[in-house]
Symmetry: C2
Subunit: 139 residues, 2 copies
DNA sequence: TTAGGAACTAGAGCGTGCTCTAGGTCAAGC
DNA sequence: GCTTGACCTAGAGCACGCTCTAGTTCCTAA
């Protein structure tokens, strides 16, 4: 249970985002946060809810295939303050196009795979072998 | 230009499939072919058109995220001849579901990304800053 | 015959993105 | 005080899927 003090431990953030504590420390080393994460007197990370929100967006971008390097670039842009919104937009638009292209590619592959599935189903229903792979003899 | 002798060199197969010659040798080491690729007197690989067709399917499966290990399993099933079609079908169906899930995930991410893009566009049109990330101060 | 490119093998290396280890420190409950 | 578990750093290690190297051989064409 996350209390409303706005200061979350790494374990709580791990729970909230699905990222491992290792990954969170790794992300920090890689400069993916929008600010230096403050520490408690004892040296422990104190995350805010805004950090979690950012991580959730990061997750979306990562899960959709954005490389760490681009994520870092985006974080740098946001960190350096207002004025570079066109660059941020360009980065997002480029990623958007990449994701759309990836979806199109997957749909094309899916069609091929589905055709194979249908062929196998037909073969199994009818007992025929048309269209399925058979082992080729080695000459 | 591929002549109709049915015996293709590794370079020709590389051209035809988009896989590098390194990748083709790697695939062979990994047992992804349906047969042992025969060799010329001088020890060079002699591919048939059916190998290329198989590679094109492999490409589809790989590109859509099937790991090499599953591809090898599928190749093993085909190699071991008729009788295991239900297993092949199961493997394909499982991959089909995985691809569908991946597409759904990407579509969800795309929606989030697109919302961000729209927000930034609005911001840039109007000169407002609502909804875009601003650098957070370190406490 | 000889040059040059294409192919051969075995094995090392690499980029990405974490994940884990070692060797501690910190903090809360008993 | 002491135990326990979460947390700390720095750095090594890993899984995947190729990619490249070194050193050699093959083959075609001039």
């Amino acid at each position: 249970m996350i209390r409303h003090t706005d200061a979350l431990s790494i374990g709580q953030v791990s729970e909230a985002t699905g990222l491992s504590v290792h990954a969170l420390r790794f992300f920090e080393r890689e400069g993916l946060f929008l600010r230096p994460i403050p520490r408690s007197a004892g040296g422990r990370r104190l995350y805010a809810l805004s950090d979690v929100e950012w991580l959730i967006l990061c997750n979306r971008l990562r899960d959709s295939g954005m490389p760490i390097a681009d994520l870092r670039r985006f974080a740098e842009l946001v960190r350096s303050g207002p004025g570079n919104e066109p660059e941020r937009l360009a980065l997002l638009e480029e990623h958007e196009r990449a994701v759309e292209a990836r979806i199109a590619e997957l749909n094309a592959s899916l069609a091929v795979i589905h055709a194979k599935v249908v062929t196998y189903r037909g073969h199994l229903r009818d007992g025929t072998v048309a269209g399925v792979w058979a082992p080729a003899p080695s000459p």
